[in-house]
């Protein structure tokens, strides 16, 4: 909490709510807002017109704006900001807010609202957006007095970015944006119910250290919390001290380099066989900034039954929510790990796990991630591998949802945190493209790919216009199987090949679509054309849509059928 704010001038000026909003955003260090105008936010847009220090990106749909803010936040660690008008504008944000909530992404969503006097009368374009989003925000505000506005914005950014991050919504009636008051940015925050745990329980840390040194078959299981707390270095140190094999949830991808020997890749439904076996047979599962989601644990009553469970999470409510925890460690992952590493180092604790490492190496050998190659046929896994090779693993990878997402998670090696950007908890089709806009805005020089399915890309393809308008050199790699592949995979395996409504006939010609938007489109049908197409897209300053034609029957393996134990895999 800041004690003094430089923008508090000696003589406070009278400003309109809209002016206060923009000043406060600037004070919070906001550089870019993704938004869409409308009647109730006109005074705000008029102020944006006059503002020099904040860039506004006009998306083509409010869902695009919120996902872009999300992508910006995930790739930078800074809060993403989006702006929409009341009613339909606000409700179009709902999916994106829920998406950010599930993955604990700091977003501040600002919505216009009908004037205070019209509230509650079903006025034109009125929607109770605070009510609608209460279950999917960390907190939300309806500003009823212009005098509260500055404080509310200050609180919103604080809440969104601290503790377990998450989306915060600020709903501002139109009259509040035109009324005037003195602009005083509150020097401190009064949130008596908002407790941030700053101490680490050393007794628990010692217990954890002792459990670690005694373990014979331990695994680290890391999640998105490691990335959001910036604890990758501490994870590296922990591995250096203990050599314990590591697996991750989808959200934890990038927390530790994929190309390191101790890394077993992803755990769970589409995790690697060796990660799943390791977790299943482990005698110590050390969950770090993960929430033991059902996609990861599979059947709960068989998950880690022989294992002691240590769990670090900043959100105490996550500890014991899904699995019974033996050694709970509530707190910020980075701080807790620093203490733990100290103890391990000082006491020279190192578990004796040679036989376990051997066992895992055998599994790795016997059940590697693999796919069949067929001459003349493009395999999606190959495309993903080639994206890695062509970018040296330095690209920002966004994904859509479905098979494309899982192939990306399996076959793209992430080498550092914050550059694998995907919708984990909600699994939102249409997330990847707008998220890529947010990422590219934050990292203008970086190579950004959106790995997409032909279904997902059509959920927010209007954003190609935003991409072209803003000259963002985003590369979209569509793994085009002409079907809703992941759903089709389930239909094939569990519904007697009843392919009910998963065939995508009537698709647009994606090359012409690219052309229509002023981007470049390439259709790629032969394996030998994959790499050159990628190289062309990467080296060009234009946006590219690469339409890789793949087979509809290609599946994501291994696969743990829903509700099964994780050692029970198809296609390993």
């Amino acid at each position: 909490m800041t004690s003094k704010n430089p923008i508090n001038t000696a003589q406070p000026e009278e400003l309109t709510g809209a002016q206060i909003l923009l000043k406060a955003l600037a004070a919070e260090g906001v550089e870019v807002i993704f938004g869409y105008p409308g009647g109730q936010v006109l005074p705000i847009y008029d102020e944006i017109y006059r503002t020099k220090n904040i860039t506004h990106i006009l998306t083509r749909h409010e869902q695009g704006a919120v996902h872009a803010a999300d992508g910006y936040a995930r790739s930078t660690g800074k809060p993403g900001v989006c702006l929409a008008t009341s009613g339909p504008g606000a409700t179009n944000l709902v999916t994106g807010i829920a998406n950010a909530y599930m993955d604990s992404v700091p977003i501040v969503a600002i919505t216009g609202q009908v004037p205070s006097a019209l509230l509650g009368r079903d006025s034109f374009q009125e929607a109770d957006i605070v009510g609608i989003t209460t279950p999917i925000t960390k907190y939300s505000y309806l500003v009823k007095d212009v005098k509260d506005l500055a404080r509310v914005i200050h609180e919103a950014f604080h809440i969104a970015t601290t503790g377990r991050p998450g989306p915060v919504l600020i709903d501002i009636p139109k009259d509040i944006t035109t009324e005037k008051t003195e602009f005083i940015y509150p020097p401190s925050l009064e949130l008596p119910g908002y407790r941030l745990k700053s101490t680490v329980n050393l007794e628990q840390v010692n217990k954890a250290a002792e459990a670690i040194v005694k373990a014979k078959q331990p695994v680290l299981f890391v999640g998105g919390g490691v990335i959001s707390s910036g604890a990758s270095e501490e994870i590296g140190k922990l591995i250096e001290l203990t050599d314990i094999p590591l697996t991750y949830s989808l959200m934890g991808k990038g927390a530790f380099p994929d190309n390191r020997e101790q890394c077993l890749g992803m755990l769970g439904m589409h995790g690697t066989a060796y990660a799943n076996y390791a977790a299943y047979e482990s005698d110590l599962i050390f969950g770090i900034g993960v929430r033991f989601d059902d996609r990861v644990t599979g059947r709960l009553d068989t998950f880690g039954t022989q294992a002691k469970i240590i769990h670090i999470d900043i959100d105490p409510a996550e500890i014991g929510k899904n699995v019974q925890v033996d050694i709970p460690l509530a707190g910020d992952v980075k701080k807790v790990l620093q203490e733990l590493n100290k103890v391990l180092e000082n006491k020279g604790y190192r578990p004796a796990i040679e036989p376990w490492k051997q066992k895992i190496a055998e599994w790795k050998n016997k059940y590697p991630l693999k796919y069949e190659t067929v001459p003349g046929v493009i395999k999606p896994q190959f495309v993903v591998e080639q994206i890695y090779a062509a970018t040296n693993g330095e690209a920002y990878i966004c994904t859509e949802v479905g098979q494309n997402q899982m192939w990306a998670a399996q076959y793209y090696s992430s080498l550092k945190p914050r550059n694998f950007i995907t919708s984990g908890g909600l699994g939102t089709m249409g997330f990847g493209l707008p998220a890529a806009m947010g990422v590219q805005m934050a990292h203008p020089e970086a190579v950004v790919f959106n790995i997409a399915g032909d279904g997902s890309i059509q959920m927010n393809s209007q954003e190609f216009a935003t991409i072209v308008q803003n000259k963002l050199p985003i590369n979209v790699a569509i793994l085009n199987n002409h079907t809703l592949g992941m759903v089709r995979q389930w239909q094939e395996l569990f519904f007697d090949k009843h392919y009910s409504h998963t065939s995508m006939t009537g698709q647009p010609d994606f090359v012409k679509l690219a052309d229509a938007y002023g981007a470049v489109g390439l259709r790629v049908e032969k394996p030998e054309d994959v790499r050159p197409a990628l190289e062309e897209a990467i080296s060009s300053p234009k946006a590219y849509i690469l339409d890789f034609i793949i087979e509809a029957d290609e599946k994501v393996y291994p696969m743990v059928p829903a509700g099964c134990s994780i050692n029970n895999m198809l296609g390993r």
Binding site: V130, T134, P135, K138, Y139, S140, I159, G193, A317, A330
Partner: protein, 165 residues
């Protein structure tokens, strides 16, 4: 087992919705919820009675604690506390049987607070079993309407076991 939670919350708009919504969304069984101001006008006190095993209560408490408006949460069940509920009952009361009703009211140390042409309204406070007892004692006369406040509770003495988050 039923637990009685004393929850101090910020007196801001939407707090009740947030708390009630949390229970609904996460499928917790809420028995009763009573809300009122405290001596500090910025803080309201909720008494929430929840049914569930230890794991459920722990989750409920942690999830409640997570809400930004929740300032303090105490599970009173694990300590000594006083709890009360209030009931208003309107029963049929032809003048001929009013004497009988008044006897029952006396036994329970309740009060008659209104007399209509053929009905009376009785007010009683006490713990849940007493309230249940008076309600069933009056049932034979024909109950026209019942309203109960839900439980309110307070720990005895000074010591409070705060819920550790």
């Amino acid at each position: 087992m039923k637990h009685t939670l004393a929850v101090n919350v910020e007196n801001r708009p939407g707090v009740l919705t947030r708390i009630a919504g949390l229970f609904a969304r996460r499928g917790y069984n809420i028995d009763s919820l009573a809300v009122g101001k405290t001596d500090n006008p910025l803080i309201s006190r909720m008494t929430i009675v929840v049914d569930g095993d230890d794991r459920v209560i722990e989750q409920v408490s942690k999830q409640l604690y997570k809400l930004i408006d929740v300032i303090k949460l105490t599970d009173l069940t694990t300590e000594e506390y006083v709890d009360r509920e209030m009931i208003l009952i309107k029963v049929n009361a032809d003048p001929a049987i009013r004497g009988e009703i008044m006897q029952i009211v006396d036994i329970f140390r309740a009060r008659i607070v209104d007399i209509g042409k053929n009905t009376v309204i009785i007010e009683a406070t006490g713990d849940e079993s007493k309230i249940n007892a008076i309600e069933s004692a009056l049932r034979p006369f024909g109950i026209k309407e019942v309203v109960r406040t839900g439980r309110i509770a307070m720990s005895r003495g000074l010591k409070n076991k705060n819920y550790k988050s």
